[in-house]
Structure formats: structure tokens, C-alpha cells
């Protein structure tokens, strides 16, 4: 039974206001707050603060999540009471992100300023886009080195070798070798796709990993990476799209600092990073309702916030369809034909949003976010040819890594030859099936050769087919291989190969059946002939006996007639007898 109103109290949870910190400190991150009751049921939640929550009087646990140890407090809420819980804020606890944006660990003025200078520069007409790669290591340490990192175009040609230190800007003191806190690289490019290739030593993937970037006209694609002991960490990547000529750090400029847009810009950067971290953690770190609709709608100048935000909105239930529609529409205006926007269009159509009658253009470049790529690949399965054949999007199908936020794949691709092509990667993944015969290993290689699939995937397909065969399946169907990421065409080629090898024994069965049927036919024929022969033989015997009976009957009849005639005509019969006897004598004499 619900208690009466008098039995309720009011609970509030707030961050402590420490002296020395500005209110709304740029480095603070809204913390997730949870309140549970004595059955450990969640009765209230919020971000940053929880104000005036009415609950029945009783005992509750307040928990505030934190990068370090969470804050927990047991509270008693009396009837008609007001209880306020203050949790400590720790300015050393920003978001674990290297991007120099409000709320993150990479937020340092000495990092934002040089970045801002680069982003403010104009581009040329022929190359209206910019790629910026910034590696940060705020605490310093060993000099930052990007050995093995490079930018490539679709054909695999190296655009920039990021190991070349002369390409970078860095803190003036000490020269390039002393760049321990930050390094920035930038290059102006034409619109389109670029691949960032990086060395990766995570278990199971040793060699190189590629990640797609998309450059839109009049936009900078900014890649932030954190470093530890001088080594950039691919796992820390954060990507922003920023308008060329617009300030990334308006608070640094005397003339811009007081402009009304400055707080929005800072808030949008903070919200972008929170949205990204929400996608990375699989758990919302911000309430999309609390993100000012201005950030996504009216003052929308941050496409990545729109892209991340749309992904988060599509994951929620129920879905805010109007907001999704509006954000998507804004994105199409800001960054038309951006692969991530195309992917979001596909994903929104799956839930009934978007104009289904408007055909989607075929795609050739993968989106930067992996969920978007998976949606594209699924769409291509339903509508073969949606991903342009032999495009980058097509070639990486079976190499894309699972998990993670960003689309990444193992290199080198067969179409991405470069002097950095890693033998180690090929060696590690081109593995004869251990314990199996060479024939099976050869099968995997042949499937890869015919379809262009990654050999590791071919081995998995083979293993899968063997399992199916063991389970008594007589064939493998195209839908059985949808999980591989292959296209329908690649699957057809694979199945054709299985048929040629008679992998499931269909030919042998047919031949066996055929042999059996021929034998049966021959046997049937033999039986038929036998019966005919028997028939013939028995027919011959009947005629013979019949003929015998006939001739015997005739003789008897004749004698009878003669006897009757003899009785009637005795003289005639005597002359006849003499005649017969005379001829008999003559015959005897002969």
C-alpha cells in the first residue's frame, strides 16, 4: 500500500561547491547518480545532480559514480524531511579522454591554442578539406613518436608518413625530439576518404590496423590521440569535425571570449566527448534530454555531436523520432554524403523513419563508426550491390574488427599494397588449419583467392562447413554465411567452390544413386527378358503338344471314316487296301 503524502521526504544530491573552483568548472563531468532502496531497487537516478526527489521515508543508498572510487552514502529520509547529500568533486577526475575539450583529461590551454591556430587557417580551392592529427601527453614523459603511422588513400598510396617529424608542429622548447606534451600534423586534401594506418599489438591482432576518415568540403577532420611513454594509443582516438576558419578555442581569443556563442561552443565540445564516451562505454554518461536542443538543432555546428547523438538516440527506447529526424536533416545539410550520415539514414529507416521512397545512393567508403558500417553491410546483404563492388567498403568486409566504436580493419588488404605491408600480419592469419590435412588449408586459401575474403574468415567458414557436414547437413545455404560479412556474390563463389569440391558429398550421392538406378534398371530388364523367354519357351511347348494332339486326332478320325466306309462299301475298301499294299510293296522294293 502506498504511504500517504505525509510519509514522504525529499532527497537531493548535489556536488560539493569547493572554493577555488569556478561554478560549472570546465573540467567537471556530470556524474551518474543512483539511489536504491532496501531491496536494492533503483528508485531515482540523474546526472550531476538530483534535486527534490520525493521518496517514502526510509533508508536509501546514494551512489555517485566516479572514475576513481564511487561515492556511497547511506541516508535516512524522515517523513516530511528534506535531506541533501553533497558528494565530493575532484577536479582531477575528468573524462578519460585525450581530446582537449571541456571535461576531459586532455583539456589544457597550452594544447588548445596551437590546435586553434591550425584550424583557423584557410584552405585552397583545390584542396578544401583538412586532416589534423594531434597527439597529446599532458603529463609529459618520453618524446611522442608516431612510427608506423601513416595516411593512405583508397588505392593504398601513402599520403603522409607520420613517422616523419618534419611534418609536425610541436612545442617550441627543445625541438621535435622534445615534443613530450603534444604534436600536431595537418594536411589539406580533397574531399573524400583517407585511411589512417597504425601499428597495433593487441592480442589476436598483431600488425597494422586501418581506420577510415572522411573529409568533407570546408571541414577539418580532427583526430585526437593520447600517448603513453611517447607511444600513441589507438584506443584513445577521438574524432571531431570542425568548420575551417572557425575557432576551436574561442575562449583563448580576447575578441571572441565574450561572444554569446562561446559558451555554446564549449558546451557542444563537452557534450560531444560525453556522447562519444557513452558510445564507448555502452552506457549513457549524459541525458540526451539534458543536452540543450540548441546544440543539436538551432546552433548546430558540430556534426560529430550530431552523429554521436543520433547513434545514442537510435539506441534508446522509446525513440525520440522528431529529434532523430531533425538531427539527421541538419547533418545532411552540414556534411552531405558523409558516410556516417548515410549509415544513420539506413539505421533510421529500419525503425520507420526517413523517406523510404527516396532511394539511397550506393556507397563506396565505410563510415567512421562501426555500428554504421555493420548497418551498411546488412543493407548490402538485403540489396546486393548497395556497397559498390571492389570499393574500399567492399574490400574490408571480412577484415573489420568486432567491438569498439570505430570502424577498424586488419591490414594489409590485397588492394592496399604499400611498402609497409606487414608480412607478420599475413603470416599470423594465413594459418593452415592446425591438425587438419593440407587439403583443408588449401581449401581456405582457395576460398580467399576466389572471393577476396580474409583468410582467417575463410578458415572459419571452412570450420563451420565441416561442423554442418558432421551434423548431417547435405548442403550449405547462402543465408548460413551471412555472419561472415561477405557479400552475396562472395558467398555464391564460396558455395560454388564447395560444389566443385563436392564438399557435402552431393555428387557422390548422386553418382551412388545413379549407379543404383542403372543397376536396378538392368536388373529390371533382365527380369523382363527372363519372363519373356519363359513365355516364349512355354508357348513353344504348347504348340508342340497341341500339334501332336492335332495330328493324332486327324489320324484317328481318318481311320474311323475308313472303317465306316469299309462297312458301307466292302469292295471299295478291298481295292483300296490292295492299292495301299501295292504301293507299300513298291516302296519296299525301293
Amino acid at each position: 500500500m502506498k504511504p500517504s503524502v505525509n510519509r514522504f521526504g525529499t532527497l537531493s544530491v548535489m556536488p560539493q561547491r569547493d572554493f577555488g573552483l569556478e561554478s560549472g568548472d570546465r573540467r567537471s563531468v556530470p556524474r551518474r547518480i543512483q539511489v536504491t532502496d532496501n531491496t536494492l531497487s533503483l528508485v531515482a537516478k540523474g546526472f550531476g545532480e538530483l534535486e527534490g526527489k520525493k521518496l517514502p521515508a526510509g533508508i536509501y543508498q546514494v551512489r555517485v559514480e566516479s572514475v576513481k572510487k564511487p561515492f556511497e552514502k547511506m541516508v535516512f529520509l524522515p517523513p516530511k524531511g528534506n535531506v541533501s547529500v553533497a558528494y565530493p568533486t575532484n577536479p582531477e577526475e575528468p573524462l578519460p579522454s585525450c581530446a582537449p575539450v571541456p571535461g576531459s583529461g586532455g583539456m589544457h590551454e597550452f594544447i588548445r591554442e596551437p590546435l586553434d591556430k591550425i584550424l583557423l587557417r584557410k584552405t585552397s580551392r583545390s584542396k578544401p578539406c583538412r586532416i589534423v592529427v594531434m597527439v597529446t601527453q599532458p603529463e609529459g614523459g618520453l618524446p611522442i613518436k608516431l612510427n608506423g603511422f601513416r595516411l593512405q588513400d583508397e588505392k593504398g598510396h601513402v599520403i603522409s608518413d607520420l613517422a616523419d617529424e618534419s611534418l609536425f608542429s610541436f612545442p617550441k622548447e627543445g625541438g621535435p625530439s622534445a615534443a613530450t606534451t603534444w604534436k600536431i600534423f595537418s594536411i589539406d586534401v580533397s574531399p573524400g576518404g583517407i585511411v589512417l594506418v597504425a601499428p597495433e599489438n593487441t592480442l589476436g591482432i598483431e600488425g597494422f590496423v586501418s581506420q577510415p576518415l572522411w573529409c568533407s568540403r570546408n571541414w577539418s577532420t580532427v583526430v585526437f590521440m593520447g600517448a603513453s611513454s611517447g607511444l600513441p594509443l589507438l584506443s584513445t582516438i577521438s574524432i571531431y569535425l570542425w568548420k575551417i576558419g572557425a575557432s576551436f578555442a574561442p575562449e583563448q581569443h580576447y575578441t571572441l571570449r565574450e561572444q554569446y556563442e562561446t559558451p555554446y561552443i564549449l558546451r557542444s565540445q563537452k557534450a560531444t566527448e560525453l556522447a562519444l564516451q557513452s558510445l564507448i562505454n555502452g552506457r549513457s554518461l549524459l541525458s540526451m534530454d539534458e543536452v540543450d536542443s540548441n546544440l543539436l538543432v538551432e546552433k548546430f555546428n558540430n556534426p560529430m555531436l550530431g552523429i554521436f547523438g543520433c547513434h545514442l538516440l537510435l539506441q534508446r527506447t522509446p525513440k525520440n523520432q522528431d529529434l532523430i529526424r531533425t538531427v539527421l536533416s541538419n547533418l545532411k545539410k552540414l556534411v552531405p554524403q558523409h558516410p556516417d550520415v548515410v549509415a544513420l539514414e539506413i539505421m533510421s529507416r529500419l525503425i520507420g523513419l526517413g523517406d523510404a521512397k527516396q532511394p539511397l545512393q550506393n556507397v563506396h567508403w565505410p563510415p567512421m563508426l562501426r555500428r554504421g558500417y555493420v548497418a551498411m553491410r546488412d543493407k548490402d546483404w538485403q540489396s546486393p550491390g548497395f556497397i559498390v563492388k571492389q570499393s574500399m567498403c567492399d574490400r574490408i568486409r571480412t577484415r573489420v574488427l568486432t567491438g569498439g566504436v570505430w570502424t577498424r580493419w586488419i591490414t594489409p588488404d590485397t588492394g592496399e599494397k604499400s611498402k609497409f605491408a606487414s608480412r607478420s600480419v599475413r603470416a599470423r592469419f594465413t594459418n593452415p588449419l592446425k591438425g587438419k590435412t593440407k587439403t583443408l588449408a588449401g581449401d581456405a586459401e582457395e576460398i580467399s583467392r576466389r572471393t577476396g575474403a580474409f583468410e582467417h574468415t575463410s578458415q572459419q567458414i571452412l570450420s563451420y562447413a565441416i561442423q554442418l557436414r558432421k551434423a548431417g547437413r547435405a548442403e550449405i545455404k547462402p543465408d548460413d554465411l551471412e555472419w561472415t560479412g561477405m557479400s552475396q556474390l562472395q558467398v555464391k563463389k564460396t558455395l560454388r567452390y564447395f560444389r566443385e569440391k563436392d564438399f557435402f558429398g552431393a555428387k557422390r550421392r548422386i553418382q551412388k544413386n545413379a549407379r543404383s538406378s542403372v543397376v536396378r534398371a538392368i536388373q529390371a530388364k533382365i527380369r523382363q527378358l527372363q519372363s519373356e523367354l519363359e513365355g516364349l519357351l512355354s508357348a513353344t511347348a504348347v504348340r508342340t503338344s497341341f500339334a501332336k494332339r492335332r495330328s493324332t486326332g486327324v489320324a484317328v478320325g481318318k481311320r474311323r471314316r475308313l472303317a465306316v466306309a469299309a462297312r458301307k462299301h466292302p469292295g471299295r475298301s478291298r481295292r483300296r487296301k490292295a492299292k495301299v499294299a501295292g504301293s507299300a510293296k513298291v516302296n519296299k522294293q525301293d
Binding site: 531491496t39 526510509g58 555500428r371 568486432t402 561442423q467 551434423a471 555472419w483 560479412g485
Partner: protein, 361 residues
């Protein structure tokens, strides 16, 4: 009487000899698998017939060539369970109505402990013992669930996955099963209880030292199953809440790292018989507080602004109040106090599935 139509496959992978020469090995999976098996076959717990609990570790079944367990035998164990269930059901009952009733009581447990892969967001993928850097062999719990759900092989599906979800790989292999239709079209069935030890792209941990031989997630799971949950019944709802609260707490205590489980559960799945488990609670009054020098204190169990129960803890010779409480939140008050009415001082405390020492006042 055993749960006649319950089955289980329990897998623990502790050694990965083909990865980094043994650097990848774990301490707890064999004990994890053993303890889960013990709960499953105990009459107060899962009450599953021992013949229907298939345990696959490096040691069991004996006589296999390492590295084990591998994908094939895990696969076969699950299929054997589905086949055996179908066969026994059909042999025992000739009428479809009786077979349907038997199906409604069925359950399949799938427990895994070992290293894991970052799957497609809603998956926990166990790396099998014969995995190598060259080939990250694995089995996907999401694939198992999808196949069993589609075929309606069992009415209840329980997956407990104590493995990391952070290592990337290329392509999660689907399962080559085609079980066909095995069950019945009943609304809201099959039900499922799916608990992963860590969130997407995060690690699960083993304790650093301490007396327990189990991984953190499995420790808390077993504690909850044995009655540590709030309330008398261990059902899907309160087991989920218990684990969401206590796994992070236990991880911080034992390893000083964050670990948050991910749990999705349909309501109404009961685990084991009703049991009330209590824990030793010691309350030390702070010097100068209202509780100092009291001969006893009252412990109030409050719910919805009413006092559900009141019990008394007596002070020992050191003035420490000692008693036993079940998991839950309580208010400690001086004898006879009622903070809901007379505003008496109250110290809120929590008991979270383990013995508790608190300072009050």
C-alpha cells in the same frame, strides 16, 4: 525430487597454452566451474540431476588431450542436452499436452569462465583453450541463446558469463546448428536470464589474493544464489539487483578496479528453494555518540515509511553490538526508538551479501 527437466553445461577455461607461452592463463575458472556445478546439483540449489550437468574444464572429463575444452565439445555438450531432453520427453509422455507441460518446466544453464572477446555489443564470447594469436577460437553465448530461443529447445535459458569483453577479433562465428522446432509457442517464452561479468569492452577480474578461489562475478553470483539476495526468494529480479550492486562493490574491495556486470532478465525465474541467509554484523559505536555505552540497540527494517521488523543487538564486553542480518538496509536506533515518529537518532547501515563491520554514531 530433482528438477527433472533442467540441464546445464558448465565450462571453465584456465589455460591457454598457445598464447604467449602461458602468460594468458587464469587462476579461477576451474574452481568457478566446480562451485557452479555444486550449486546446480545441490538439492537446495539448482537441484539438477548430476547426469544432466556437463562440466568441461581442463580436468573434466578426464583423459582428453590438451588443450581443452574446445569449441567442438562445448557445441556437442549443448546439443546432447537438447537431444536428451527431447528424447526423454517423448519417451515418457505419449500425449502432446503432457509433453508441453514438461517443456514448460524445462531450463538450460550455460556457464562460462575464461578469457573473452569484444563481440557485437550484446555478446559475451568465450575464447576456447585451443585459441592462439593466429586463430582466436571462440564460442559466442549470443549465438547459443539465439539458436536455443529460435528452436524453443527449453522454456528457460540461463546464461552466466564470467569473462572479459574487451579483446577485438575478426568475425564472430555462428553456430552450425539446425535444431528445428523443439518447443511450443507460448507467450513470453522462452524466458531468459543473461548475466555478463563486465560491460561491453570492459574486463572482468579475478581477486588479488584473499581466501576465495573464485572470480569476482562468480563469487557474487554464488552468494546471491545461496540466499544472499534481499528477500526470501532467489528470483531473476532480486538476483539481478543484488549482482548489479555487489559486483562493483566486491571488485573494489578485492582488486581496487571497476567492474560492472551487465544483466538482462525476464521476471519470474526462480533459482533454488526459498532460503534466508544472514550475515554477522558488528556495530562499533563511535566515542561520544548516542550509541556509546548503551546495553543494546534496535535494528529497524523499514519499508514504505513503515517499520517492518525490529530486532535487538546486545553489546558485548567491548560495547560492540553483535547480531545477524540478511542483505538489506537497516536503521540503528537506541532501544525503543522510532525515527519515523519521534525523530530519534538513527544510523543507516547496509548489509550486502557478506559479514559487515560498521562504525555507528
Amino acid at each position: 525430487m530433482a528438477n527433472e527437466w533442467h540441464y546445464a553445461v558448465v565450462v571453465g577455461v584456465d589455460q591457454y597454452p598457445r598464447i604467449n607461452g602461458g602468460d594468458f592463463d587464469l587462476k579461477c575458472p576451474i574452481d568457478d566451474a566446480e562451485q557452479i556445478k555444486e550449486w546446480l546439483i545441490s538439492s537446495g540449489g539448482g537441484d539438477v540431476h548430476p547426469d544432466r550437468v556437463k562440466v568441461l574444464t581442463r580436468l573434466l572429463p578426464a583423459g582428453r588431450n590438451p588443450p581443452v575444452p574446445v569449441f567442438d565439445e562445448i557445441n556437442e555438450a549443448i546439443i546432447e542436452c537438447t537431444e536428451d531432453f527431447k528424447r526423454r520427453r517423448e519417451q515418457k509422455f505419449s500425449k502432446q499436452a503432457d509433453q508441453k507441460e514438461a517443456w514448460k518446466q524445462s531450463r538450460f544453464y550455460f556457464y562460462i569462465s575464461g578469457h573473452g572477446v569484444d563481440g557485437e555489443g550484446d555478446d559475451a564470447v568465450l575464447i576456447t583453450a585451443n585459441a592462439s594469436l593466429i586463430s582466436l577460437n571462440h564460442i559466442s553465448t549470443r549465438s547459443v541463446l539465439n539458436k536455443l530461443k529460435t528452436s524453443r529447445a527449453f522454456a528457460d535459458l540461463v546464461v552466466w558469463a564470467d569473462c572479459c569483453r574487451d579483446l577485438p577479433t575478426v568475425t564472430i562465428q555462428d553456430l552450425p546448428w539446425d535444431l528445428g522446432e523443439r518447443g511450443y509457442n507460448i507467450p513470453k517464452m522462452p524466458r531468459s536470464f543473461i548475466a555478463y561479468a563486465a560491460r561491453n569492452r570492459k574486463k572482468a577480474y579475478e581477486p588479488n589474493g584473499g581466501s576465495s578461489k573464485n572470480s569476482i562475478f562468480t563469487q557474487v553470483l554464488l552468494e546471491g544464489l545461496k540466499g544472499g539476495v534481499p528477500g526470501k526468494h532467489v528470483d531473476s529480479d532480486n538476483l539481478r539487483k543484488f549482482m548489479l550492486d555487489c559486483v562493483p562493490r566486491r571488485a573494489l574491495e578485492l582488486t581496487d578496479v571497476e567492474q560492472h556486470p551487465e544483466i538482462n532478465a525476464d521476471t519470474g525465474i526462480l533459482f533454488g528453494k526459498p532460503v534466508i541467509k544472514d550475515y554477522l554484523v558488528k556495530l562499533t559505536p563511535r566515542a561520544g555518540s548516542v550509541f556509546e555505552s548503551l546495553p543494546s540497540v534496535d535494528i529497524l527494517d523499514m519499508d514504505n515509511a513503515t517499520i517492518r521488523s525490529r530486532r535487538t543487538f546486545l553489546a558485548d564486553s567491548d560495547g560492540v553490538f553483535i547480531g545477524r542480518l540478511e542483505t538489506g538496509f537497516y536503521g540503528v536506533v537506541p532501544p525503543g526508538g522510532n525515527p519515523l515518529q519521534d525523530g530519534s537518532p538513527v544510523q543507516p547501515i547496509g548489509v550486502f551479501g557478506k559479514d559487515t563491520n560498521e562504525t555507528i554514531g
